[in-house]
């Protein structure tokens, strides 16, 4: 059906294009037209296709709603008498049957008959609307075509019009991303507001009890007792710190190697490899963490613990023997490895932006490479590198897959890297996966967490961009 409509539309547009061209050629015969024939064709095409397309889109968006309203308006008494939930289910099944599907619920007696008759009515209404829509689309297209053809004339500025349409189209494309982001923010804000009506923001930000899973039903005790997200923030912070301790130095040093020490040949190998690493899906890092690094580290610590137990460091040994697969160290460490290419490629750009004249100045003073790096390049690049690190921090905070797979679910206020911790992103995932009632504070808490995360990462990104930007200007 949709395919057919599309083919028809394309055929119609092509016809409009040729009509425009031919007409333009005929009318311009002998004179020099303002715009080339192609532009006249394109102009006519736009005027024919866009109205038809608009009508079709409107149909697609609103037809089900209108159909539903029409059905309800003439609803049989027997159905109106049902309770609202049941009514909704009934109409849902009516539409399903009308589309040739099988009903979701079991309807008996008069309801079953009504279901059939109402489904026929729905199909009739639907058919009529499709027909009407098609007629409207054709009419709109023809009217547009007619109007446009009338304007085709040698002096008509078809080129400018078409260029204008193209500019408008491109603008809409770029606006979509921005508008979508605004929509996301709005929905985050809106749902978070609902959440903060039942849980106070202060409690949310500073409370230390996180147990949203308890409050599944309204009649349970402690319904709002478990929404202190501080342990999540601490866990997120801990993992981010571990990740940065890995990614910061290694990324920075590899950037220094690449920009100052590596010859063209090494660069030609290492840079693309790092870029490939940056493209590895995070879920791959996630199972690397959960299945390889976690068990290995656990084995290591358990072994060390077994050695220590019974000795002077007995309690430490006992603790190490109980270390689990899922610990902050594993998630943070692997996340750090994931961030190395990110940090290194940003830092590489920034170090390369330091003017060559500073290097020359330093070498001409008899400084060695490492002295030049340490005393001139790094101080000069420091603001930019700080910006790069902030960007990495913001990625570490928002990273989800690795922590979901390797960090654990226990919300603990701890800075011990060997402990199981949980993060904001992990909790959002657990709160929203599975069947959820959309209104419970438990689900809404995810929006609260999401908003917090969003604000923090947005802030970090803005600050980092500003720093990097200002740094670039400094050397332009």
């Amino acid at each position: 059906m949709i395919l057919l409509v599309l083919i028809l539309l394309i055929g119609f547009s092509a016809a409009a294009y040729w009509a425009g061209r031919r007409l333009a050629r005929r009318r311009a015969a002998g004179t020099r037209a303002h715009s080339s024939l192609g532009y006249h064709g394109a102009y006519v095409l736009l005027w024919a296709a866009i109205p038809a397309l608009v009508v079709l889109i409107l149909m697609a968006v609103f037809s089900t709603g209108i159909q539903y309203q029409l059905l309800l308006a003439d609803a049989p008494e027997a159905i109106r008498a049902l309770d609202p939930m049941r009514q909704g289910a009934f109409w849902y099944d009516v539409l399903t049957v009308a589309d040739g599907g099988t009903p979701q619920q079991i309807w008996a007696g008069p309801q079953a008959e009504l279901l059939q008759s109402e489904a026929q009515r729905a199909a009739r209404i639907g058919g009529l609307m499709t027909l009407g829509g098609a007629v409207a689309a054709v009419l709109a297209g023809l009217i547009g075509l007619g109007l446009a053809l009338r304007r085709v004339a040698p002096q008509f500025r078809a080129r400018n019009r078409v260029e204008g349409w193209i500019a408008a189209f491109l603008f809409v494309c770029s606006a979509i991303a921005i508008l979508t982001t605004l929509g996301i923010i709005a929905s985050l804000l809106f749902e978070s507001l609902r959440f903060f009506q039942s849980v106070s923001p202060l409690e949310f930000l500073f409370g230390t009890q996180w147990s949203p899973q308890i409050a599944i039903r309204a009649d349970q005790v402690g319904q709002t007792g478990g929404f202190g997200a501080a342990p999540l923030f601490v866990g997120t912070f801990l993992i981010m710190m571990i990740a940065m301790l890995v990614a910061g130095p290694i990324g920075l040093f590899s950037a220094i190697y690449l920009s100052e020490y590596a010859g063209p040949r090494q660069r030609a190998i290492i840079k693309p490899v790092l870029e490939i690493l940056a493209g590895v899906p995070t879920v791959v890092y996630g199972f690397f963490a959960a299945l390889t690094v976690g068990p290995a580290l656990r084995g290591f610590f358990n072994g060390v613990g077994a050695q220590l137990a019974g000795g002077p460091l007995d309690s430490l040994g006992q603790y190490l023997m109980l270390v689990q697969n899922q610990m902050a160290l594993v998630a943070g460490g692997v996340m750090g490895i994931m961030l190395i290419p990110f940090v290194s490629s940003l830092s590489d750009d920034i170090i390369n932006a330091v003017p060559q004249s500073l290097r020359d100045g330093s070498y001409a003073m008899g400084a060695t490479k490492s002295e030049t790096v340490k005393r001139v390049l790094l101080p000069a690049a420091l603001p930019g590198i700080a910006g790069a690190f902030l960007l990495a921090v913001s990625r570490a905070i928002g990273e989800t897959m690795i922590v979901t797979m390797a960090a654990g679910l226990a919300a603990r206020m701890t800075l011990n890297p060997l402990d199981t911790v949980t993060t904001v992103t992990v909790q959002i995932v657990t709160l929203l996966t599975g069947d959820q009632e959309f209104n419970s504070p438990k689900t809404l808490a995810a929006f609260g967490l999401g908003l917090t995360l969003f604000i923090v990462t947005l802030g970090l990104n803005i600050i980092a961009q500003q720093i990097v930007q200002r740094y670039r200007e400094q050397y332009d």
Partner: protein, 296 residues
């Protein structure tokens, strides 16, 4: 810092008929134009730097052709010549800065005080402490004024303690004629100074390690006439203590500050002599054409 063996190998590398831009419009071979191999008429005082048959290649392209030149101590030698003729390239041979350009290869021999600086055993890091360099664009480090001047003494460990270092910084700044202007703001960033002040700052930075030679590559081309005049005065003062080589595009500047002038053209040293002779009665036609503004 490892050295590229090519850079110090004896001149086993003849010009292998490179097809370079330079080759196409330069005189075919040395036979036609009588280019003297070693020219030092009017050289008074001891010779500091002696270059013998120095050629430089950038990759396959030869930029400098068998330059032989003596440079006097306690004097200013000016290098003039049209753009791209190899003045900077030759200057960078003297402190081995060409080592930092991966594609560059230097053949020939350069001695300072009789010591072959192209030799494998010479550490370019130590050499550059003896041969300071000032660049076309002032390039103070993004550090304080004090730290800029203290940079060399610190990395070469020239001073024993803080007071010595401070003394040396003060002395260098005074020597560069900048002390009065910055004495009360040594801790503010060097990049905050004016262009002329920055250039004097990097001269102070260069003389803080007490070099024997100072190379200047168009040190005034980014400066206004007043700042230029100050730098020229400074060069004239420094001449008493150092061997100074200056590249310049300004004939007037060469005439004002230098005692000897060398004229380069298309990678060759055409003529060198006392500055007055070069400007008043050059022996080479090309020199005359250049200084009278007929080309370049």
């Amino acid at each position: 810092m490892t050295m590229n063996p090519d850079l110090v190998a004896p001149s086993r590398e003849p010009r292998q008929g490179d097809v370079s831009a330079l080759d196409t419009d330069r005189n075919p071979g040395h036979a036609e134009a009588p280019v003297p191999t070693v020219v030092h008429p009017g050289l008074t005082g001891p010779i500091k730097i002696k270059a013998e048959d120095v050629s430089v290649f950038y990759g396959q392209k030869q930029a400098l052709f068998d330059v032989s030149l003596d440079i006097a101590d306690k004097a200013v030698t000016a290098f003039i010549g049209p753009s791209g003729c190899g003045k900077s390239t030759f200057l960078r041979c003297i402190n081995r800065m060409n080592d930092t350009i991966p594609s560059a290869r230097v053949v020939g021999k350069i001695t300072i005080d009789g010591q072959d600086i192209t030799d494998r055993s010479i550490d370019p890091v130590l050499l550059r402490a003896r041969v300071g360099m000032v660049f076309q664009k002032p390039n103070p480090f993004p550090k304080s004024i004090f730290e800029n001047v203290a940079y060399g003494p610190k990395i070469h460990g020239l001073t024993a303690n803080k007071t010595e270092l401070a003394d040396r910084v003060e002395h260098s700044l005074k020597r560069a004629g900048l002390w009065k202007e910055v004495a009360d703001r040594l801790e503010s960033p060097g990049t905050g100074l004016s262009g002329g002040q920055q250039q004097r700052l990097v001269i102070a930075r260069a003389i803080a390690v007490e070099p024997e030679v100072i190379l200047m590559d168009e040190p005034c081309s980014a400066l206004d006439p007043i700042a230029t005049a100050r730098i020229e005065e400074l060069i004239d003062e420094l001449r008493e203590e150092y061997c100074i080589v200056i590249v310049t595009h300004s004939m007037a500047q060469a005439a004002r500050v230098s005692q000897r002038t060398a004229f380069f053209h298309l990678g060759q040293l055409i003529e060198v002599g006392p500055t007055e002779d070069i400007f008043q009665n050059p022996r080479e036609r090309r020199t005359l054409d250049y200084i009278t503004g007929r080309f370049g």
